[in-house]
Symmetry: C2
Subunit: 379 residues, 2 copies
């Protein structure tokens, strides 16, 4: 679900390359929503039809595809009835915090799109594929930044002398992040009452653009760099490439989990190939390392320098409401236990990303007015 997106397209190719029979769904809303903000992907991406053809030409393998909107109950029901999947990877949500913060319409659009789409999948699974494994993309941002360690979904609490294992409290920081928290509660409930199985992935911020399956540029995935659709590290890389200052927000001590695109694909593949037992709802914290935003900027300055790019850091006013210095110590044990090993270190990954962006520097230059933050949490 969401095969046309940043993660969906490379994941589809990777699962197919591993011999899985892959079928995708998308309504192309990401393309439209990025256009709405007058932005574009740094990488030129092909239409789905062209992508499917290019993939078949390059590999001899075919991906199936259904165009449609997951919030349309009958469409989602029909696709799941037809496909009777063993695993659904649900990436078909609107993934931008700033986009959701534009106004009430974007808040409601993000929340209803994400929640209704997921509900439709849950009901269709119950009806047509009750043993199917739902691999759902949530976000580490669901947890916020509590002053205690963050477990993977659940924790044992002792309170007034009694104990229980409870869902870890969520303190999300945008209407978008809230939509993922709503999903989390909805999915947990569906697993409980219907015995569905799900892996709810609390994913860190994803960065990078190249994966092994992108054997030619017709197979590239999108790479967003604007204030709404780009995320911290990707935006810094794009800024470096066009000689723009890197712009950490506020003090830059905001610490989050990060994971490279190829590692995210690796993790989702591991989760898909190692489903939980029937009726189980499990949570994976999916990231490689935590970094403060300032540290990321310094890594980018260093690696960009290796490519002859002289880059400065410019701290700008924080458009968000968030702690800029805080404790942050989330667990991430379950995926390594399944076999996840990061492919290499952050600098090595930046050495793959930056040259690919240099190749498409003109496309970033063209839309550089979309980079600086204009959407404010308070206004």
């Amino acid at each position: 679900m969401g095969m046309d997106g940043y993660l969906g397209w490379p994941l589809a190719m990777h699962l197919s390359a591993r011999g899985h029979n892959v079928s995708g769904v998308d309504n192309y809303s990401r393309r439209r929503n990025v256009e709405e903000l007058h932005s574009q992907s740094a990488t030129p991406i092909k239409s789905m039809r062209e992508r499917l053809d290019a993939y078949q030409k390059a590999t001899g393998r075919r991906l199936r595809f259904h165009e449609g909107d997951l919030t349309k109950t009958t469409f989602t029901d029909k696709v799941i009835e037809e496909e009777k999947p063993d695993c659904i990877v649900h990436l078909g949500e609107i993934p931008s915090a700033p986009y959701s913060m534009i106004d009430v319409e974007h808040c409601n659009y993000t929340q209803t799109n994400n929640v209704v789409g997921t509900n439709n999948i849950l009901f269709a699974m119950k009806k047509h594929a009750p043993k199917c494994h739902l691999l759902k993309l949530g976000t580490m941002g669901e947890y916020g930044t509590p002053n205690i360690d963050i477990p993977e979904g659940f924790f044992e609490v002792e309170y007034r002398g009694r104990k229980d294992t409870l869902p870890f409290p969520r303190q999300p920081g945008s209407w978008y992040h809230l939509s993922k928290v709503h999903d989390t509660h909805n999915i947990m409930f569906a697993c409980k009452i219907w015995g569905l199985r799900s892996t709810d992935i609390m994913q860190g911020v994803v960065h990078g653009v190249v994966t092994d399956e992108m054997v030619n540029d017709d197979l590239l995935t999108r790479f967003d760099f604007d204030e709404a659709w780009g995320t911290a590290l990707n935006r810094f890389c794009a800024q470096a490439v066009i000689g723009h200052e890197l712009t950490p927000y506020g003090k830059g001590g905001q610490t989050r989990g990060y994971i490279a695109l190829r590692d995210s694909i690796q993790c989702m593949t591991l989760a898909a190939e190692n489903p939980p037992s029937e009726g189980a709802y499990r949570v994976f914290n999916q990231f490689d390392e935590t970094y403060a935003v300032n540290e990321l900027a310094e890594h980018v300055v260093k690696v960009a320098g290796e490519f002859g790019l002289a880059t400065k850091i410019w701290r700008v006013e924080n458009p968000r409401v968030e702690r800029e210095e805080h404790y942050y110590n989330p667990d991430h044990e379950k995926l390594p236990t399944l076999g996840f090993r990061p492919t290499n270190d952050l600098d090595a990954k930046l050495r793959l990303t930056i040259p690919k962006l240099i190749q498409y520097r003109g496309r970033i230059e063209e839309k550089k007015s979309t980079i600086m933050p204009k959407i404010k949490w308070r206004n």
Copy 2:
């Protein structure tokens, strides 16, 4: 918001009687949704126009009213812009767990109706009435039945040697209850980023039908008794009145907080007249006493007997997925601290409810086929 409903109508009269300038909103969805299930209120309720006129005739006071749908952003914005309220009591949500469990359409309708309506109120408050106090009706059901005490919204956690005060984890038991959890997270966030103030009321199950302001039967509020819109205690009272067995679900050890209608009105009035400080998000657990369903049935048998009604208890298969025997110890200190005193004990309250229902026995008899549970959590 929701002035035509079970709580909204008596609350509007009570606040008006206390000298507040009261304006209400409703789209009459409750009337339509009850009709959809071929049911009706035991009490014959007047149209809003008739209610407003009857109230003015009885008291000389006027209530203002706006007909419209809170999920329509421009409507909600306009009402709040016009009224610039000091306090919004938001009762304008779909309040039925079984209704939300009928199918995917009823799940999505309940969740989007409730979440979008609340979001629209939050955005309109921010724009037109940022100091307004949002008094929002949630439910004790948001917490589920954890094996530890339930605080009022937040608790101090010690975990791996560090401490933080966090939202108490929510484990709701239906798509409806989930919609209230979604609201809770959304409201908490709006208070945090915009400095709005809110009291989020985790209300127990409300019972009864008579309040002091109902000086004649044109001013009655609705009283639902069917499987979807009736709740445990009210349904038992209606069953007793028509000689139907009382039907606790399953073992009947399910324990919840209960509060009489007049006490609910008292609590909401206290909360409205004692707003939190600007930017504060506070949670009240609003109930009088906790009872197991079996205990409630026994109280109803006893009091119904005083009215010459011979009533039996018949345990039926539980249509829900819930613990039937469990620990349950929620705090409820904040409202008593503000001055809440229950008007009298449960039996005394049943002695007010049952005769009023005897008066309208024919209307219950007419729709008795709607009482037994047909909507199942699993199916």
